[in-house]
Symmetry: C2
Amino acid sequence: MATISDVAARAGVSPATVSRVLNGKSTVDPGLAERVVAAARELDYRPNAFARNLRRQASTVLALIIADVENPFFTAIARGVEDVAQASGYSVVLCNADDDPAKERRYVDVALAERAAGVIISPAGVQTDVGALLEQSIPVVAVDRPLAAPAGDTVLVDTRLAARQATLHLVEAGYHRIACVTGPSGVRTADDRLAGYRDGLRAAKRRSSAALVRRADYRAAGAQRATRDLFDRPERPDALLVANNAMAIGALQALAELGLRPGTEVGVVSFDDAPWAPLVVPSLTVVSQPAYEMGMVAAQLLLARIADGSREPTTTTLSAQLIERDSSRRG
Amino acid sequence: MATISDVAARAGVSPATVSRVLNGKSTVDPGLAERVVAAARELDYRPNAFARNLRRQASTVLALIIADVENPFFTAIARGVEDVAQASGYSVVLCNADDDPAKERRYVDVALAERAAGVIISPAGVQTDVGALLEQSIPVVAVDRPLAAPAGDTVLVDTRLAARQATLHLVEAGYHRIACVTGPSGVRTADDRLAGYRDGLRAAKRRSSAALVRRADYRAAGAQRATRDLFDRPERPDALLVANNAMAIGALQALAELGLRPGTEVGVVSFDDAPWAPLVVPSLTVVSQPAYEMGMVAAQLLLARIADGSREPTTTTLSAQLIERDSSRRG
DNA sequence: TAGCGTCAAGAAACCGATTTCTCGACATAC
DNA sequence: GTATGTCGAGAAATCGGTTTCTTGACGCTA
């Protein structure tokens, strides 16, 4: 593999000049520059990123640590991040923490070892610690969920308000015993959606009851069990607010097993729109979150912070949108 | 950030000794070793990956270049790769080529610049060129689709046979005019599935007709148009073989718009199982590919090739499985 | 024409690891 | 007691870029 010295030798100049030409940071004689460019092309020269990064003490790789690659919500965020990063010459490393604090920690370590230019993370839980990154002044942006000790920008959705609206929507549609299946305690979105659900019940002057609330991991299997459990009790719910799209699958599966038809017999609203949501019968009413936009905003904030580390931390809250379909329409 | 010299100074030894202790490649006096380890811990020393990689001329990062992050099939592959890589101390960089040869090329360049230890790729098309990687003796494994010039291991699914079986399944279920919506020409899986479809028709002694075949990109929108188009003609098909899971969504949407009920009126079989496939009504019959396993096998082959670059290129063909649900059952 | 400022380009230092080279200490063999 | 071998650890080279330092050429002004 050709090195900068090879190029320099071929062009009859010093390595320093080659570096200057290729980085355009300084003016060089046009004639020399042309020779350098030609030599580089002829040798198919590609700078060694290790050497460059070592000297510059910086890389052009952004780490994106998400909770679940198999969840379309997070992959949509990833696309948003990527599109912005690409445009600025950064590449994005996607890390799948799999909702596992240990895996997440490992990826934080990788980001540290590889001296990522910046990190975008959706923290798996309360104990996520990005202190080590900040010590190395690697900027961090939290997306979807805030960090316990916010020390960078944060991009959220007003998910509590959205949950409140979704709950009120179910009330208005004529459902009476509305249950909530949410994510693990300590995960902010899960807690917020539960709080919003209670807000909604309160606003509608309904009593909330612990018997109507279930928690599970943010996966289908857990939600399936939780839903089955809700309907196993004497006073069955007649509606369900489900806190994410993976859980929606589990909940719908449980309802199908129980022979309950969504919409007519059980109102269902889930968080996160998905390509298949209009296709299930009845089509699924969802709270659609602007995932792609969240990714874009997070990346923009990160790039801004890379450029100027002294910016004040900001919090951006985007809003979700209720998409009414048939699963929350009686009759 | 502490460097190896800082650790050496604190432990009262030379940097070389620190390196030897921490890498365990050579024996050192236990007393010294203990001091080194203590010093490293006290300073929270983390080796600089740039410096290490520069010297070693190798990294421990695998690049995984997939066609579409939003497609669960590919994310399942990613998980398989990741689980194997993790266990061997490699980290995985997920790159989303987005079915775009230009993006793909850019990521190949990134893998090259970052001197990835190896690359796993599902080539976007015929013109994918990994020659540059091979020149640098970076091992390459192709997954899901073969490379035009195979120069590494390949992990495939016998998708042609699976398409043949799926087509015969539709014939046996009593459908007569079976159409096929497949991916872009030049993408091997798309061509193979079409060929398998024709195999199936031939085996059933049915005439195949170009009027019953449509190509689109591997996305929902394209499949939706293609399906609409198929049903716009006087002699409508009564069954549909769809070549991947994103396209299935588009096809089902089109059928819904046309007021055609899958199963009873139009038999549907799609490639790729998805969490939502059992939930649509009627539930979707699919050809399930062992995506996670494909990822695992690809990663194992890559690691083996990293360890020993002179291995003969192999091709592993896994088999798919037809999961019969209601969308292909008449009546 | 002397003196000063500007600028382009080469020389050399530097980033932080790993690894080869070298040397000294000690043990064993003759 | 000397020669030889072994082994552990420090010195120094090395990876391939970037960037500072230095030098020399040139132009302008007094």
